[in-house]
């Protein structure tokens, strides 16, 4: 190689010196070694929006648990003050039957959150079972199970839910059934995808050749690897269930009076909008805040779990 090629602009090669290999430095760990979940937690806690979401959800949950217990009024008590604007004694005002809106909002939060979380848990159970059986079994069984899911997911979701709710008497249980009847398909597909991709990894093959049992594989490799995707899907299912519930309540297909979910309250509030706008504003604000918070947490989790976004 000619000497000229080694020149960088007008820097002469003799300006450089050989440092040599420093054995102890190259072998040094750049940072403390952290486990995967610790790192996920670290990355999650740096996401301001997600932390805000967590805090908002904790506050909403605490208020939903304690306000109906400690409030001087009950959610169905008619106080004789009709459509009163927010004041010191009734923070969110009263409705057309003279009920305290503050208590009703938190009673409604109980119902909306309960429906949202239960629907998500049912989706989780059915979806994980269906998806993992389908993915693990493979072959013809996998084919049949996935075709069933395909056809079911082609059925327009909300139409089915509406018709189902028309038939079942309105109430908590019918609402949950209606929400989870097609909701599990998404989860099943995601779990199946995870199972398939993990099943064909070389380390699984290695574990198999070393004599690991199927149960050991599920426990040690499948579950920890699929957990992230399942967790994210579940956090993102809750807000959509809450949204659907309030949508259906708004159409008059929700839990019957005097219990009120946020959707029912917003629907009644909308009718009284010109005379008592606070009856729409408060439930509307808390539906939106809850949906936002769950979405923020879900997005934050997804980013934190994605190894590609590692810094």
């Amino acid at each position: 190689m000619a000497k000229k090629d080694l020149q960088f602009g007008n820097i002469e090669p003799d300006k450089f010196r050989v440092v040599g290999i420093k054995q102890d430095e190259t072998e040094k760990l750049a940072d403390k070694s952290v486990s995967f979940w610790k790192e996920v937690f670290l990355r999650f806690s740096q996401n301001k929006l997600a932390i805000f979401g967590i805090i908002a959800l904790v506050i909403i949950a605490l208020l939903a648990i304690f306000v109906p217990v400690f409030s001087p009024y009950s959610y169905r008590e008619q106080l004789g003050i009709y459509n009163a604007p927010p004041s010191a004694s009734h923070w969110f005002g009263t409705d057309d039957l003279g009920r305290d809106v503050f208590v009703r909002v938190w009673q409604g939060a109980r119902i909306s959150l309960f429906i949202g979380i239960t629907a998500a848990v049912i989706d989780l159970i059915i979806g994980v079972l269906w998806g993992s059986i389908s993915g693990l079994a493979g072959g013809r069984l996998d084919n049949i199970m996935m075709r069933i899911a395909d056809v079911l997911s082609a059925v327009p979701y909300l139409l089915v839910v509406i018709i189902l709710l028309v038939v079942l008497e309105p109430g908590l249980l019918p609402m949950i059934i209606a929400l989870s009847i097609t909701g599990w398909i998404n989860m099943a597909r995601i779990v199946r995808g995870e199972v398939l991709s993990i099943k064909n990894q070389e380390y699984v093959l290695a574990a198999r050749t070393l004599g690991a049992s199927t149960w050991h594989l599920i426990k040690r490799h499948l579950v920890p690897n699929a957990l992230g995707a399942i967790l994210v899907t579940m956090t993102l299912t809750i807000p959509s269930a809450i949204f659907t519930e309030s949508f259906l309540s708004y159409l008059g297909l929700g839990v019957p009076a005097p219990t009120a979910s946020w959707g029912t309250m917003a629907s009644e509030g909308n009718k009284a909008l010109t005379s008592a706008p606070w009856r729409l504003f408060f439930p509307a604000f808390f539906i939106s805040l809850t949906i936002f918070a769950f979405n923020a947490v879900g997005d934050g989790l997804r980013d934190a779990l994605d190894p590609k976004l590692r810094k």
């Binding site: 909300l158 038939v167 909308n270």
Partner: protein, 309 residues
């Protein structure tokens, strides 16, 4: 390609059959009767009414009649509004819903892409935060709440738009916006992230170093590629616009098909419920198919499952 379309058509037929059968049996199980509000009738008249609609036949005859009627797209007369057939109701009110739906779709796509592009171009600067906040708010606030709030502030307080009704273009702006904003939020999010992905690609750097302006790179190069994920969203968008219309038409008192569907449910008007359900299902199933085909036509890299290699 043809094989793929055929396969999908078979799925659609199976799905339709399930919907039709499920609706039929659910309606049979449902409490309440379409003639409930006319209870003063002597029992003979109710018997006659039942005979007229074939409700006195055993269920398998009713089911067979119903299947035959559905295949020939004849859903019969409304049980609530005498002398009006379900087909009349659909053909009368669907154009209104279609106008509203198309307006909402154009709005959500236009607004969503605009917000997404602005957010990506000014990544991590003020316009990005503003656009992302609007998108997040749009996703978090349910359409019916937005509708109520807009009705209160824009129509009732500020008197900028009519509060409700359907008498011209002015009347359609608020309802279309209410349906569109949630979807605009999703589209903005999709556009932003795929635009950011494109911004790091070689061809965009090349175009920039050639001296093309920021916006002309967007319009002539990166946006075309960035819109791929947005196209996949068109299927859910159609479904969302349709279901959104159920509530929005109710709130704004628009005489569209969505409102008829909801009233037919509360009226237990079986013939109209079944007719509209089947009608909606056909539209939605085909919309999803069209989107999938469109997607493969636009992006040559995508090979449809089941297509010949």
């Amino acid at each position: 390609m043809l094989r793929y379309i055929f396969k999908r058509l078979v799925y659609i037929l199976i799905a339709l059959f399930i919907i039709i059968t499920a609706t039929f049996f659910l309606m049979k199980l449902a409490p309440g009767s379409p003639f409930a509000s006319e209870r003063d009738f002597p029992p003979q008249i109710e018997e006659q009414l039942n005979a007229k609609y074939g409700l006195d036949n055993p269920w398998y005859i009713q089911y067979k009649d119903y299947l035959v009627d559905t295949v020939s797209f004849d859903f019969g007369e409304s049980m609530k509004y005498k002398g009006r057939s379900t087909n009349d109701i659909i053909s009368e009110s669907f154009p209104i819903s279609l106008t509203l739906g198309i307006e909402a779709m154009i709005l959500s796509i236009g607004l969503g892409i605009f917000l997404g592009v602005v957010a990506a171009l000014y990544h991590n600067k003020f316009p990005d935060y503003l656009a992302s906040t609007i998108a997040v708010l749009g996703i978090s606030v349910p359409s019916f709440i937005l509708a109520g709030l807009m009705q209160y502030f824009l129509a009732f307080k500020l008197d900028l738009f009519p509060v409700s009704g359907w008498k011209g273009f002015n009347y359609s702006i608020l309802p279309a916006l209410a349906i569109a904003i949630t979807h605009a939020g999703f589209i903005a999010k999709l556009t932003r992230s795929s635009m950011l992905e494109q911004a790091n690609s070689d061809y965009v750097k090349m175009a920039r170093s050639k001296g093309l302006g920021k916006w002309s790179v967007v319009i002539r190069h990166s946006l075309r590629n960035a819109l791929m994920p947005v196209i996949t969203y068109l299927g859910p968008l159609t479904a969302g616009v349709v279901t959104g219309s159920f509530i929005i038409e109710q709130i704004f008192a628009i005489p569209g098909l969505g409102r008829h569907f909801v009233t037919s449910i509360t009226n237990r008007d079986y013939t109209v419920i079944m007719g509209t359900t089947v009608f909606y299902s056909i539209i939605l199933l085909f919309a999803v198919l069209v989107v999938d085909i469109l997607y493969s036509v636009i992006d040559p890299r995508i090979k449809l499952k089941g297509a010949k290699k």
